[in-house]
């Protein structure tokens, strides 16, 4: 009977951890999306100081996101986002239009990572 209780506890802790992970991932995604919006707005406004600061914040936040997410997520999709994040600064400095598309790539990839953790197919109309 002791074993059954231990197993019950393990199952319960797996369910709690995975549900909590969904909430954490959702919050982190929202924050990342907000930082991307800030960076895009700053670049569009032409204020180079705030743009550099916003891109630095985004890069730092992604580092912490990566560290947390790599505990539960496969590293391949996370590495793809890291590549895009690493390009942002140089794209901005070169004044490339690709900066905006890279930002959208990061947003989509992070969203895909979150959606791959949902135990159901998300409604496509809500995207």
């Amino acid at each position: 009977m002791k074993r059954v209780w231990i197993c019950g506890l393990i199952i319960a802790s797996i369910l709690i951890t995975s549900s909590a992970w969904l909430v954490v991932l959702c919050n982190k995604n929202e924050r990342l999306s907000q930082l991307i919006d800030d960076a895009v707005e700053s670049v569009r406004s032409g204020d180079s100081d705030s743009a550099t600061r916003a891109i630095d914040d985004l890069c730092k936040y992604w580092e912490s996101f990566y560290a947390t997410a790599s505990v539960f997520e496969r590293s391949t999709p996370l590495d793809n986002v890291s590549d895009s994040v690493a390009k942002l600064k140089s794209l901005y400095e070169n004044g490339s239009e690709e900066f905006y598309s890279e930002c959208e790539t990061i947003r989509c990839a992070a969203d895909r990572i979150f959606k791959s953790n949902l135990p159901f197919v998300p409604d496509s109309t809500s995207q």
């Binding site: 059954v4 197993c7 995975s18 539960f72 496969r74």
Partner: protein
């Protein structure tokens, strides 16, 4: 390389823990569900060991889930004979009084060679000497020799009935097994009389075996288990 080495050590510890959690049942002969779990675990564990892009937890979680489900399922089936039959099947008689039940063999997809081989491994070389051979749920064959072929013991010297069948389980964890009563040509009334004379109810009995000569053996349920 060091990462793979460390991951292997960690998963080794997890697997040892998982097998210990499944208990001694797992280390003996495997029931169908246990076999499935064992094969699945051995497959799952190779993925996080080989592929360093896969987080360790993605290997550990399915292993623990499978083991926990197996333990919980075995605890549930322990309470119900019907569920146990659904999950593990039931033993089948393939030789009765020295005659092979061919229909049963076909259903079980056992060849005569399989049966003979299993009997030989138990030291039985002549089917005619077998009173009953049963295929257990694990796939093992158990043979019960005819009384005249059984090794001589002091108890068997005093036995008069030459055609005695092996004792049958009549009550299993409180459940009356009517098929066993039928097999022994005993009636339900006889069982009621025995229970009345012993001042017990079927639900208070953990195990009751009986013979065709109406002798029986009772093990009471221990309280608080």
């Amino acid at each position: 390389m060091l990462v793979v080495f460390l991951r292997t050590i960690m998963l080794y510890v997890v697997i040892i823990f998982a097998v210990r959690l499944m208990g001694k049942r797992q280390l003996g002969e495997l029931a169908p569900s246990e076999l499935v779990v064992t094969i699945l675990i051995s497959n799952i564990v190779t993925l996080p060991i080989e592929d360093t892009a896969t987080p360790m937890l993605l290997g550990v979680i399915p292993i623990l889930t499978l083991v926990c489900l197996e333990v919980i399922a075995s605890a549930i089936t322990m309470k119900s004979r019907k569920l146990r039959r659904i999950a593990s099947g039931s033993p089948k008689i393939i030789i009765s009084n020295g005659k092979i039940n061919q229909k049963q063999l076909k259903e079980l997809r056992f060849t005569v060679d399989d049966v003979l081989e299993a009997l030989r491994s138990q030291g039985v070389f002549d089917i005619e000497k077998v009173q009953y051979a049963i295929i257990e749920t694990t796939g093992a064959v158990s043979a019960y020799l005819k009384p005249q072929e059984q090794p001589l013991t002091m108890a068997s010297l005093e036995e008069k009935d030459e055609n005695s069948n092996p004792p049958q389980v009549v009550i299993d964890d409180g459940d009356v097994i009517y098929k066993s009563l039928e097999f022994l040509s005993l009636s339900e009334e006889w069982l009621c009389r025995v229970l009345e004379s012993e001042d017990k109810r079927a639900c208070d009995i953990f195990l009751m075996t009986a013979n065709a000569d109406k002798s029986y053996y009772i093990v009471d349920k221990e309280k608080g288990i």
